[in-house]
Symmetry: D2
Subunit: 141 residues, 4 copies
């Protein structure tokens, strides 16, 4: 059994653990690179949840959703089936309508991938940018 | 270049061509079995489109969406990167609120997978079953 | 935090917990039906791991891999973003080269999807059927 | 019917057409951002194929595979179910063991996403960098 997520390690960096399954791999025998964006997002979702923020609930109560506006990822080492990964979330910058988050994926002592993800807050219907709801900004570190 | 879809072969069976990309494969070196459900759905979507039905347009005009209610698939032979697959759509049964569709995926003369997919028509908000809109039933063969 | 998997509930039925993320959903606002095959597989993988079987290790030591040969799934109720699902694994039949496994996905007291998955053991290179390695058959209940 | 790919538009920029299916969308009602990496890759694969390079054949004959080492993507406008996208491939830089490729995804006259993808050539077993096989470098523009 695998503890799914925890804020261990440092005061401000959140960590999420996950396992590599068949669905994550490709014919190269390793994790398909695009899937690190999924892993990073799972970690961000658990980070928000740990802060008390459910995204479905946020949408229902404020009409706001987060969208990813920029992704930058470097792939350093491949992960394989059954590997246990530790994915970090480190909030780097808080704008009035966006967040910049540094993320890394580790397997044991090996850094597999790292990147920076920029997230914007938009209206769920119009997709127009809007300020972070106070429900969010008041909870962020 | 690959013609994306055509109604060749028989009067009533529709065919859709697609290519296997890295994203479709797994660490076994072959197409991940769950992805045949995606391939089958692409073919059904193109079949509907060839009949004059866009699903987004249908939802906008009638509030109805199709949902998959049952899937049954047998996997016979693996496909690999770069393979060109031919996916068939054969409407087997038309109910007032559902369709049963037989589908096969071929690579050349080899049958890779086959199955039967049952689709229901539901209201996009409540997910309650509803009769097929006449926009749909009037176009089906 | 979510305990990832446990054998609670019954002597023979294994359960795996997972969370619904953005990657799992589709434009209907619910979990894309094909993804239940992924959820079922994650649960089977954790069931094997709980029995002491890592699939990558099995392949390395015996040259055998499991392939899915038949899937049958009924979809009863949609899951949504942030839902916590409990996926069961119930070994129904043990052949010399295959396993039949009944699986269900629950959200709280609601059954979302259920199915039967048949798995065969094949040689990782030739994909020819082979008997279950004794490493496997000796561990199965 | 949709012509799958063509080198129209400019001498050096390749274009690939694709359709948005249910599998590509998420509960925001739009294409899940990580899937643009898949769309970009499909376009690169068809670009290589148009140059006479099959990646499976390349691996079989030289033991080399391409891996993605860096991705940078900006997301500008969401795509929806049934949209037809045009994805471009523009080779920006050729190293001895890597390629840098600028890519864009358009829907009609609207730019949806753009990015730069860096690809390295590695040995399929060791994942160690190696020079581009002459089979590749001799065909590149």
């Amino acid at each position: 059994m695998l503890p799914l997520s925890s804020a261990a390690g440092s005061d401000t960096v959140f960590h999420h653990l996950l396992r590599v399954y068949w669905e994550d791999t490709d014919a190269g025998g390793v994790v398909f690179y695009a899937n690190y964006l999924k892993f990073f997002e799972r970690a961000r979702t658990e980070w928000l949840r740990a802060l008390g923020l459910g995204q479905q609930a946020l949408r229902d109560s404020t009409g706001a959703i987060f969208v990813v506006t920029d992704t930058q990822v470097r792939y350093l080492w491949p992960a394989r089936l059954d590997d246990e990964l530790r994915v970090s979330v480190d909030l780097k910058k808080r704008g009035s309508a966006s967040l910049s988050i540094a993320q890394q994926a580790w397997c044991g002592q090996r850094l597999l991938a790292e990147g920076e993800i920029r997230i914007g807050c938009v209206d769920a219907h119009s997709f127009r940018p809007r300020r972070l709801p106070t429900e969010v900004s008041s909870l962020l570190p």
